[in-house]
Symmetry: C2
Subunit: 236 residues, 2 copies
């Protein structure tokens, strides 16, 4: 490569940072699609879509590996300053959380295959459907907060995690009652219990990403005091 | 700081690398203790030990944050060469997996609190007990492989993960039969299903750590071909 001027180096560097951010955004898009497909496979017992979701997870894993390699190579070649280094390390963590969300989507698809042919009542699904919508909103909110360096948006996501947990608890109880009503419900409802758990964990990963986004923007850990203050300010 | 000679710099640097490795080892020790206590709380329904395990998880989280900060600061101050950089980034990943294992131990402790007072038969526990022993061995094996840069030991851990999964599947089925036998078993056995899942996930994290250990030592990703070859060699 021809010896570049300083401007050129800086530009190439910030281009690399942009590429990294872009890669996270792309991975986020793939993961959102995986949740969409995994939950649709579950709710419609669509075997084809389930298989597709399971296969597509490999691509998400590859994306994580590429982001990891890209980040490490940037650190090795450039000597990033503190704030850039923070951004690069955060990218590694966010990619890690996204990879796990992808895994959860794959789990949902796998469970849909196990549910097929079981004694499954449409009412069993109501809670799962509601929880899915909320969790998708959480992942989108976390990715937006990360992409836009929006610390208020990040706090919103973290505060809404209580809703996810409450929904999970109530769904858990509901499914237990179906199981007690009729032993034939035990196997399908057990599978749905684990689906609910996977959704709750997707919510947890969304919270992790939002916390990282907050830290990236403010340089501070998100505390429960800050979360509470934000709640009060929104209500006021 | 007084300007040091090159030797001094190198020594201080390798001391930092040692400190990082030492911190991972300490965190690993705390996490092993958490599994020990969490599973003991579960098997003996020991509320005190459960509370202790839940509180101790905060310390594990703090350890991860410190390792993260230490790693980032080392990268920022030193300009690590490729192999050292790989070791430092691996430490970040391993600490991340250990933190999640700690979370699983906390989950086991939390579930033991929910089980107290329920209609719990001693036989329900047999599978959980066996799985606990295997999973503890996996975590120890992974940490040893990482500490000793033992790639053969790392492959052993990855190969044994099939045993964990098989044990989990058989335990899952066993618990379902108890639930079908008597509706009063549904609630306790559901809790145990999730305990089994937590144990299986601890096994997965042990595998992740072993894969990282393998990569650190060999510079290559561990493939299923290598795993199979190792299996054949051991049998021969």
């Amino acid at each position: 490569m021809a010896a570049p001027g300083t401007d050129h180096i800086v530009t190439a560097y910030s281009e690399e940072l942009n590429t990294l951010a872009q890669s996270i955004a792309e991975m986020g898009g793939q993961v959102e699609l995986a949740i969409e497909n995994g939950t649709k496979a579950l709710l419609k017992l669509d075997r084809e879509l389930a298989d597709l979701t399971i296969i597509a997870d490999q691509r998400i894993d590859d994306m994580q590996r590429r982001i990891d390699d890209m980040a490490v190579s940037m650190i090795a070649r450039r000597q990033p300053m503190a704030s850039d280094l923070r951004a690069i390390i955060t990218a590694i963590h966010v990619a890690n959380d996204l990879e796990r969300v992808g895994d959860m989507a794959k789990q949902l698809a796998r469970r849909s295959l196990k549910l097929d042919g079981l004694n499954l009542q449409p009412t069993f699904y109501n809670g799962v459907r509601n929880m899915t919508a909320l969790v998708q909103r959480q992942v989108k909110g976390a990715l937006d907060a990360y992409a836009n360096r929006d610390s208020a948006g990040a706090i919103d996501v973290c505060n809404r995690d209580d809703e996810v947990d409450a929904m999970h608890t109530s769904l858990f109880r509901e499914l237990l009652t179906y199981m007690m009503e009729d032993p034939r419900n035990i196997t399908p409802c057990t599978q749905l219990l684990f689906c609910a758990k996977s959704l709750e964990r997707i919510g947890d990963h969304a919270t992790n990403i939002a916390e990282r986004a907050y830290y990236l923007q403010t340089g501070k850990q998100l505390t429960s005091e800050v979360q509470e203050l934000h709640r009060v300010q929104i209500k006021a």
